[in-house]
């Protein structure tokens, strides 16, 4: 079949990109590898989603349900249980090869949106040693077992990493009757949102140990204990540490965008975001017609912004632009998305997503276009876990730089 846009991934990013492309009249196909649409939201049974987009606190499944309902209303074609095995350029568009229980299939599309989400860093990627028993799980896998399979993987849990999924799981495990001994974080500041620390840990009296990590796992068949140890400024363990008895170690130590398909298309990833570099419409800087949206592009803090970016990409898929790209300089920031701006575009409004490298009480983001300061935004309580989203209206032709400065 021929499509205007094939969206790979049926999570919140893919669903929204598909809807906004379909609204512009494109023939859209969503390819989802799991049996049901919704992506990771299916297992996020907690609430807090959609406050910005819908003005109400929804649970993950409710948020997904709204987009899925819209996908159905628009009559968008969906292939679930379908896995993309190949993707290549053809005649200015792309051929997408898939496999499913129905067989293999090959479709042509003018444009493509990568909405493949992200995966978790594994315990081994943070240098956990010792034995390899059952009961050591990435937070997302633990969430899947508890929230979708109805299986509790342990009754006395240690959580490594203060990422949001880890914090959420601390509360979930508690509500499921498990004892959460503590959350351990190697960094000096929490990785998750402050409000999650309040409502997931503080509400239940779960301690958060900063500058402390899990170094070793003990136990043959199942986890029997872990060794926790203080770390120095370069996050290397110091001293002997102490043994904490537990039957479950949940590891929530970061997310990495999944970009295997982008790599198949020969696209390089931005080392800062681990996603591909894009322009303000989330179109790949390296290849026309390829969009990356949601956590495949960069790891978001809120699904509302995932949907926002995906909507931008989906709507743009109906357009033809003759691009003139200018790289966005990022100073004092961990990263900025988009990494490029198409300066030939008539729309002056551009949304930037960025992350600060460290906590700042007061700061400002300054935008320089063609060497001149054209806009400035004051910010309070800047924290790395909280993504900064700023819209600017400006024109530029040769250079764009964003600079984050801490203020007294």
């Amino acid at each position: 079949m021929n499509y205007g846009l094939i969206v790979i991934g049926g999570g919140p990013a893919g669903l929204k990109a598909a809807c906004s492309a379909a609204e512009k009249g494109l023939k859209v196909l969503i390819i989802e590898r799991e049996a049901q649409l919704g992506g990771i939201l299916k297992q996020c049974v907690h609430d807090g989603f959609g406050v910005i987009r819908f003005g109400e606190k929804l649970t993950g499944p409710e948020y997904a349900y709204r987009d899925i309902t819209e996908v159905k209303r628009l009559g968008i074609e969906c292939l679930t249980g379908t896995f993309v095995t190949g993707i290549c350029d053809k005649d200015g568009g792309f051929v997408v090869e898939t496999t499913s229980a129905q067989g293999i299939r090959s479709d042509f599309t003018e444009k493509i949106a990568l909405a493949t989400g992200c995966r978790e860093r594994t315990p081994r990627q943070v240098n956990i040693h010792g034995t390899r028993p059952a009961g050591v799980l990435a937070a997302g896998a633990c969430q899947n077992f508890v929230n979708l399979k109805g299986l509790l993987p342990g009754k006395r849990a240690v959580i490594l990493g203060s990422g949001d999924i880890g914090l959420i799981m601390a509360r979930r495990l508690t509500l499921e009757g498990a004892e959460v001994i503590g959350v351990y974080e190697a960094k000096a500041t929490p990785s998750g949102l402050q409000r999650n620390i309040r409502q997931c840990l503080d509400d239940f009296g779960i301690p958060l140990h900063l500058k402390t990590t899990v170094t070793d796992v003990y136990g043959d068949k199942r986890v029997e204990a872990v060794r926790v140890s203080a770390v120095d400024d370069s996050m290397n363990p110091v001293g002997e540490g102490e043994i904490v008895e537990c039957d479950l170690l949940v590891v929530s130590v970061g997310l990495i965008p999944e970009n295997e398909l982008a790599e198949k298309l020969g696209l390089q990833t931005d080392p800062a975001t681990k996603g591909i570099a894009v322009d303000q419409y989330m179109m790949s800087a390296g290849k026309e017609g390829v969009y990356a949206v949601g956590n495949a592009l960069h790891v978001h803090d809120l699904v509302d912004y995932v949907s926002e970016g995906a909507a931008t990409a989906g709507a743009d898929a109906a357009n033809t632009r003759k691009r003139s790209l200018v790289k966005v300089g990022a100073e004092g920031l961990m990263y900025v998305v988009p990494q490029y701006v198409d300066v030939s575009d008539a729309n002056e409004k551009k949304t930037f997503y960025m992350r600060a490298p460290r906590d700042m009480a007061v700061a400002s983001v300054k935008l320089y276009a063609d060497g001149e300061l054209v806009a400035e935004r004051k910010l309070k309580n800047v924290k790395p876990p909280e993504m900064l989203r700023i819209q600017f209206k400006f024109r530029a032709s040769d250079s764009i730089t964003l600079r984050l400065e801490e203020e007294e």
Binding site: K42, V45, H46, D47, G48, V51, I52, K57, L58, T59, G60, P61, E62, Y65, I68, V146, N147, L148, K149, G150, L151, R172, T174, L175, E176, G177, L193, Q194, R195, I197, R198, Q199, D203, D301, L302, D304, N381, E386
Partner: protein, 119 residues
């Protein structure tokens, strides 16, 4: 009474609030970007409220459990009691988001609703 530091959990802004209970029982709040912060801080000092979210077991093998929540906030100190109650349930009817499965949970004034789609 002394000042209390709070992080507002109502929206993603996550405002860092400073709240103080005055002699007349009213609460003085600073640090909020919107009026929701005042309500949150007041509740927090008087009677903290939370929405319960979790899962309930079902009789269907394709959905061993299903996501549920209280349709409004309930007193924070009741959350664990609600969890225990919900953990004892087992649904025998396929549900869609919004379907009420328990009315007035534990007499707290909130209904338990399903938030995921089994159909």
């Amino acid at each position: 009474m002394s000042e209390v530091k709070l992080t507002c959990i109502v929206c993603p802004n996550g405002c860092e609030l400073v709240a103080e209970k005055c002699g007349d029982g009213s609460v003085k709040v600073a640090g909020n970007l919107c009026p929701k912060g005042v309500k949150f801080a007041t509740d927090e000092l008087v009677r903290p409220l939370r929405t319960f979210t979790g899962t309930a077991a079902t009789a269907f093998p394709d959905f061993p459990v299903i996501a549920v929540k209280t349709d409004r906030e309930v007193p924070k100190e009741e959350i664990l009691r609600i969890a225990e109650y919900v953990n004892s349930l087992c649904l025998t009817k396929r549900c869609s988001p919004g379907d009420v499965i328990v009315k007035d949970v534990l007499g707290l004034g909130a209904d338990l609703v399903v938030t995921a789609d089994m159909n």
